[in-house]
């Protein structure tokens, strides 16, 4: 327990908010951020004057000071941004919780909002090299995220003998969960494995269209504060039992090609150890998981790295129904980034909060602890009973 940071167990997520998830929001990213933030502040039973810190992604286009004006936040005393896009998504919560525990702020608003479908689409091919570092990849044809990640996924498939159909079994689960979540873009639209197998190849024979996350417009926000403070608020909050960002030397977010064995995800394994240490838990104590999946194979790699199953066992773990709503470890109960929306993984935190409050569309039976992770950043959230 010596590894327990001051914020672990003493801070909570007290409020959540989001806009609708769409393919064309019809309004600015700043408006999406403001609407999501307004909803999160209200959900927490607070006013904008209570917010004294702001955290978002380095990639977020929404200026903190403009958002302050839009919300009428009179003064803040803590600002921070976290790197690495979706892989670093949960670093925002760590920053907010650490600031609160250290007294640098009392109530931190975390936000992420973009028009990722109607505006700049991350999945579109790169047209030119942007130094530093991309000369090693783009001239050789690694011009999309799908190709870039698939080059590593191929090694995992080779090592354990998986086919794309195995990945499809995850997509079917994600879409089934989304189909009964009214917030999900794919609400009411489940898929069969046959439909997955009929979707077009993106990188043959590794990724089909239905292995890829959505492109979405939308905004999400949440409020982090001290556990003691939350006693006076309408929701008891969910406790931040652990939060960490873990990277290893020779690692890379996009081009993670230089570790010895590409059939493993050593950053996620390190993250898992760190989170379990902080929370004083093991994988067996986790009731559900929200796992970032820009592409379906990332769920397989994370299930193994976090110790929910052994190396190479994710295929059977998923096929045997363990990640279903009635399984031993329900995963992405809202539909994940494939089924609900791609709000850079922060929407996954909102689903964990709903599950722990007991207000999710696909509500599990009294989950107490949920792991939320995106490979190299993650959280363990706990219900307050």
């Amino acid at each position: 327990m010596s590894a327990r940071p001051a914020f672990a167990g003493t801070t909570v997520i007290a409020g959540i908010g989001h806009t609708e998830y769409s393919k064309d929001s019809g309004r600015s990213e700043l408006q999406l951020a403001a609407e999501a933030a307004r909803a999160a502040i209200a959900d927490a039973g607070l006013t904008p004057a209570d917010v004294d810190g702001l955290v978002t992604f380095t990639q977020d286009a929404n200026d903190e000071l403009l958002l302050m004006r839009a919300l009428g936040i009179p003064e803040v005393r803590f600002l921070s941004r976290t790197p690495n896009g979706g892989a670093g998504a949960y670093g925002t919560i760590q920053h907010a919780a650490a600031a609160v525990a250290a007294g640098a702020a009392e109530t931190v608003l975390v936000y992420r909002a973009f028009n990722e479908r109607s505006g700049r689409r991350f999945g579109q091919p790169n047209q030119r090299v942007t130094p530093p570092g991309w000369n090693w990849y783009l001239p050789f044809g690694l011009d999309t995220p799908a190709k870039t990640y698939a080059l590593a996924f191929q090694r995992y498939m080779h090592r354990y003998g998986l086919t794309n159909e195995d990945f499809g079994r995850y997509s079917v689960v994600a879409r089934r969960h989304a189909a009964t979540n009214p917030d999900a873009w794919f609400f009411g639209r489940p898929i069969t494995l046959a439909e997955h197998q009929e979707s077009r190849w993106i990188v043959e024979p590794i990724l089909r269209l239905l292995d890829c996350c959505q492109e979405s417009d939308g905004g999400v926000a949440l409020i982090v504060t001290r556990s003691e403070r939350a006693h006076d608020l309408p929701h008891p909050g969910v406790t931040i039992a652990a939060a960490s960002v873990d990277h290893l030397v020779e690692g890379s977010v996009m081009h993670n090609y230089y570790h010895h064995d590409l059939a493993e995800f050593p950053e996620a394994a390190a993250l898992g150890r760190r989170l379990y240490d902080q929370a004083g838990l093991t994988a067996a104590d986790v009731d559900a998981a929200m796992l970032y999946e820009n592409f379906s194979p990332v769920v397989f790699l994370q299930l193994e790295a976090f110790g929910f199953c052994g190396p190479g066992e994710a295929r059977d773990f998923i096929a045997d129904g363990h990640i279903d709503l009635d399984g031993s470890l329900p995963v992405n109960t809202h539909g994940g980034l494939l089924g609900e929306a791609y709000i850079h993984g922060v929407n996954n935190v909102l689903e964990a909060v709903r599950q722990l409050r007991g207000t999710a569309a696909n509500q599990l039976a009294d989950p107490e602890r949920i792991l939320v992770a995106g490979g190299s950043s993650g959280l363990i959230l706990e219900a307050v009973r």
């Binding site: 130094p131 530093p132 001239p139 044809g141 080059l151 090694r155």
Partner: protein, 141 residues
Amino acid sequence: MTDEIRVIPPAHDPDDVWFWEGVREGRLLLQACADCGVVRHPPLPMCGACHSTDWTTRESAGVGTVHSWIVSVPPGAPSGPGRIVVLVDLADGVRFVANLVDTPVTTVANGMAVRLEFRDCGGTVLPQFVPADPTADGGVA
């Protein structure tokens, strides 16, 4: 087939300009620490092992094995010629992204031995790999 390929040319980057000069001379240069000798790729301005900023280059022997591979279909032309992108475990001790050419897709396999050649790819000379043993199953197309 290579003349149909549209290649995004490398951009100027002060930390790898020497590499592309080597490519133009037909040599695959790798960076090695001048003090402790560690070979590193991708290159960096400092040695993580000994903190030296002095480095030298070492010409790769140009042989290795395929660690993993994909087919990169060109954007907007899904039926166009794909490029085989390979991660090559070089005998020099580092892993390197390049392309495998003169090889039918059906014969590409992890672990296959490959050797370096320089090719003009749509106007850009790039280090490429071919099967090390062209008489082996799947040899030159």
